[in-house]
Symmetry: C2
Subunit: 200 residues, 2 copies
């Protein structure tokens, strides 16, 4: 449907999405700063100059990947809060949705979680990430007021702990691995809400 999805004419070459996917994969393997444009080009089987035909700069590759991750995470929050339900219901859905995004878009989210704020592109991503965290913290606080989330832990700390657990998935989850994403989402919710101990 979109202009991008129509069949390419002439010799195939590489399109932007394909180049971006390879670049993000390499950024995650070696780190963004440790990966040169020549590294990316080599893995694609072309030269630096050819790569610069597709993208204006190395930072543009980074910016596109970070925007994709942030768009997906913000959409989970927007969609959840637009539906009726208690704060506790919303919180459960946001955690579930975040796990879904992390597993479905692992490469770009991994990149996002490693950003240090060295450049304008990275600082803008950090700004959006902080805004996301604050909205989730407000949700945790509301769930505490409802009495369904324990109130003996500060809402900001509780949010960071749970999302620390969720975010850590990018360090080891792989789409082609042995762990099923649906089962994983169930496990994360189980540990986050009920804990590791056997139900008494």
């Amino acid at each position: 449907m979109s202009a991008d999805s129509r069949p390419r004419r002439g010799r195939p070459g590489h399109d932007r999405d394909q180049v971006l996917a390879v670049a993000v994969q390499l950024f995650n393997e070696q780190g963004y700063d440790a990966t040169s444009v020549a590294d990316v080009a080599a893995r694609l089987g072309l030269t630096k100059s050819a790569l610069y035909h597709h993208f204006a700069s190395k930072q543009e590759l980074l910016r596109l990947a970070l925007d994709a991750a942030l768009d997906a995470l913000e959409e989970v929050l927007d969609r959840t809060l637009a539906e009726p339900g208690t704060a506790s219901d919303h919180l459960r859905q946001v955690v579930r949705g975040a796990v879904d995004v992390l597993t479905a878009r692992q490469p770009s989210v991994t990149l996002l979680l490693r950003v240090r704020g060295n450049t304008d592109v990275e600082q803008e991503a950090l700004r959006r990430r902080r805004a996301f965290d604050q909205r989730v913290t407000a949700l945790v606080r509301a769930a505490q007021d409802e009495g369904l989330v324990r109130a003996d832990i500060d809402a900001a700390v509780a949010t960071r702990l749970v999302f620390g657990m969720v975010n850590s998935l990018v360090e080891w989850y792989r789409p082609d691995g042995a762990v099923d994403p649906d089962e994983l989402a169930r496990d994360v919710l189980a540990v986050a809400l009920d804990g590791l101990q056997s139900p008494r």
Copy 2:
């Protein structure tokens, strides 16, 4: 007592520990690869050459910091397993000890958790880290066999989720911040073992 603790003679200059601490802090702020030796020297108020008088290479700074973090984490495991107790007791102590190490030695542990394996130094650190993870996973499995840890989640997944939560502390915990490390350790154990929901 040790040779290193005797008073320095002559003009003070900088000693290795001081230089290392500044380097690790900068590595964490900007990322190891994004930080040049000139950056480290500038923050110390001296030149690159003066820094190379204290250390043979940029990688030596990295190696010393990673070894410090790994030594501390392995010591927690060794010390815990040497004591009598059930696997569930040991697991609780290891989580508690890991939080203590993360808060007390946040800079070097942060660096460890971000290593990508680009060089021999980094790969050796990853090897030790994997060995640590496997020993903890064995502990979780033993605690499941005892019946005190829920058995409906794979031991390796459960270990990664809990330590994902623990490790995420380095992203936001600061020694001079508002959160007390003892209280934080209590909160981590509470969420990890009993979950976020109010006790029913």
